[in-house]
């Protein structure tokens, strides 16, 4: 099935200057986002998930810059592809931010302005990105509040963020993002700060809104449990690179990269009562230094000799599924996938 690409990342490099040193945060990522899908990007803290998506909106911190590759956006109204990495002026970013790509941040407790009513904050986005009078904007705002599942919108419109719980605030933040009328919605760990019962509701809401507003969603998370029920495709990120990408089924039932195996094995859901939970030994590599070979090799007990010398290319497993590991080379010794895959498949965990 040929799907329409809305965002294309080609060999993207992002570096940060920190006290005279260069930190290579994103190391040559290529990726496509298809229209209407939910693409999850998973990886541990510091793997570069947020930085990666911030670069789509020109919101990198001042000391960070794109040092190679490009990002192309195909969703603009006039169908002309826009090279996001070529945008230099703040003015040009303003045409894109919110209007084409909107973002939801991690902590709903702090992402709303405490001194403005939530109505005013949503309406601000409506007035900025949609044509129409103030009365119309207000009507739309109330509609968005209803859409994100906030009851009594007329009353809630005039309330302040401190009068909302964390889950409700995240709904408001989502309403703000939707009110921008974007094509792409980036959700940067939207459920991390929320408790488990609310997490499911918020994810459900994101899925619903994607259909209603025809959004393409990038869902950043470090929680594979969140991914399983939500995402269409999953990209596994490690040390600034995507080591494996595939559909949810590919990743959960047929993972090929040792890092993905390790991630899946660390899921508390697959732990056995009475036994220690699995954890990945070691720490992620230092991104200040040049990484030689496979970035995950030092932490990988099954690493091959070549892993320390040469970085692996992508090996295709199926049209939707590819992974960056030498294990997939035909000359490699056969490595057994860990028992976790079997547990997941047979236990029907996800």
């Amino acid at each position: 099935m040929e799907r329409e690409t809305i965002l294309e990342v080609n060999d993207l490099d992002i570096t940060f200057e920190l006290r005279g040193k260069r930190l290579h945060a994103i190391r040559g990522i290529s990726l496509e986002l298809y229209k209407g899908e939910i693409l999850a990007i998973v990886g541990e803290s510091g793997s570069g998930k947020s930085v990666f998506t911030k670069s789509f909106m020109g919101l990198l911190d001042k000391n960070g810059s794109v040092s190679g590759g490009n990002v192309v956006y195909y969703g603009s109204d006039d169908k002309v592809p826009v090279e996001l990495t070529g945008i230099k002026k703040e003015k040009d970013w303003l045409k894109l931010r919110g209007h084409e790509i909107a973002m939801i941040m991690q902590d709903p407790m702090t992402s709303l302005n405490p001194l403005k009513t939530i109505g005013a904050q949503i309406m601000e986005a409506v007035l900025l990105h949609q044509k129409g009078s103030r009365t119309e904007a207000k009507k739309r705002t109330l509609q968005y509040l209803t859409d994100v599942g906030i009851q009594e919108p007329e009353k809630r419109f005039f309330q302040y963020p401190h009068e909302f719980s964390g889950g409700m605030r995240q709904r408001v933040v989502i309403a703000i993002a939707i009110a921008c009328n974007p094509q792409i919605l980036i959700c940067d760990e939207p459920t991390t700060a929320l408790d488990v019962t609310i997490q499911a509701q918020i994810l459900e809401l994101i899925k619903e809104l994607r259909l209603k507003y025809k959004l393409s969603v990038i869902l950043i998370t470090h929680d594979l449990g969140v991914v399983a029920n939500t995402a269409d495709r999953v990209a596994v990120m490690y040390a600034g690179d995507i080591v494996e990408i595939g559909t949810s089924e590919d990743i959960f039932y047929d993972a090929r990269h040792p890092y993905t195996w390790a991630l899946l094995s660390s899921l508390p859901q697959v732990g056995i009562k009475g036994e220690n939970l699995f954890s990945i030994a070691g720490t992620p590599p230092n991104l200040y230094a040049e990484i030689k070979g496979d970035a995950f090799a030092p932490r990988n007990p099954q690493a091959l000799k070549i892993d320390f010398v040469k970085s692996p290319p992508y090996f295709s497993i199926s049209p939707t599924h590819k992974a960056k590991t030498w294990l997939l080379d035909e000359r490699a010794p056969k490595a057994d996938p860990p028992p976790v895959l079997k547990i997941i498949r047979e236990g029907g965990l996800f």
Binding site: K91, R97, G98, M103, L112, L115, K116
Partner: protein
């Protein structure tokens, strides 16, 4: 809210009464020599008569009661030494408006200059405007006020063609004192607003506002400014009152007939009625300042609700 306000005002009155009583008692502890011009040559009888005339020979509680009775009728007592037999209220009525006028102008100027300065410094952080502003603030904070006051007077009087003797009806004469008084506050507002705004601009809601597609300027003025202004707002009434009562040096420099320095003078002269009157005024002004500061906070920040106890929702 109204309930809170009335409670708060009642408590303010109580504070005033306590302040007045304490000051009243303290004044009565002063040696009685000060009440008389030629104490050494007076006989004990003369002294007693004199004290009686001034109402000072009654028992202390009775004196306090008398004092408050008179106060309720608007009688602040009569000055005996500072100006012979002139009601305190008349003396203050001459001087207070001048000081208040000076204070208001200086506040208006310092807010109108200081706030935009701070905001622009934060907006263009580390750029030339910020650097010049920082230089200005450091100068004002580091150089003793007396030094630049003198320079302002020295060069300013030539610039505006004003004489040294203050003329209350000529607006030109107000310019230099107002500028002198404002400089410190301009630096204060500029410095703190810049700092608070920079603090705020690293917060998540600012990132969301940017992600919404708001321009940097709009984010600054629609979102950051008000948040940064809240902690400052609390100090504005107090700062205003400080300029009203604390302009001793400037008033003497320009020979402005305000009330700066009056308190020190009358304490030295043992003019109890005057001391009492001025303390009452200062206390009112101080209590009012705090009240206004809190009210401003409530108006600006919906999270602060004075009417409700903490934890109420």
């Amino acid at each position: 809210m109204l309930l809170y306000l009335s409670k708060r005002i009642a408590r303010s009155f109580l504070t005033l009464i306590i302040i007045l009583t304490v000051v009243f008692c303290l004044l009565r502890l002063m040696p009685i020599e000060g009440y008389f011009q030629n104490f050494d040559k007076m006989t004990p009888q003369q002294i007693e008569v004199g004290l009686k005339e001034m109402g000072l020979s009654d028992p202390l509680p009775l004196q306090i009661v008398h004092f408050f009775q008179k106060l309720l009728h608007g009688d602040l007592g009569t000055s005996r030494i500072y100006r012979s037999n002139v009601p305190v209220s008349d003396i203050l009525a001459d001087k207070v408006p001048v000081s208040i006028k000076l204070g208001i102008w200086s506040m208006v100027v310092s807010l109108l200059v200081g706030l935009p300065m701070g905001a622009f410094m934060a907006r263009y952080q580390y750029r030339w405007f910020d650097k010049i502003g920082t230089f200005f603030i450091v100068c004002i904070q580091a150089v003793p006020a007396a030094v630049y006051f003198l320079y302002i007077q020295l060069y300013g009087t030539q610039l505006f063609h004003v004489g040294l003797l203050f003329q209350i009806d000529d607006p030109n004469y107000w310019i230099l004192p107002v500028i002198s008084m404002s400089l410190g506050n301009i630096a204060f507002y500029g410095m703190w607003l810049r700092r608070y705004m920079i603090d705020e601009s690293n917060k998540d809601y600012v990132r969301l506002a940017k992600a919404k597609g708001l321009s940097e300027g709009n984010v600054m003025f629609k979102h950051i400014f008000r948040n940064a202004f809240v902690p400052l707002a609390q100090y504005i009434p107090t700062a205003f009152l400080n300029t009203v009562i604390g302009s001793i040096y400037i008033e003497s420099l320009y020979s402005i007939p305000g009330m700066g320095g009056l308190l020190v003078t009358v304490i030295k002269k043992h003019d109890n009625a005057m001391v009492q009157g001025i303390v009452l005024l200062y206390a009112c002004v101080g209590v009012l300042g705090l009240l206004l500061g809190d009210l401003m906070m409530v108006m600006l920040d919906p999270r602060i609700s004075l009417g409700k106890k903490a934890g109420d929702r």
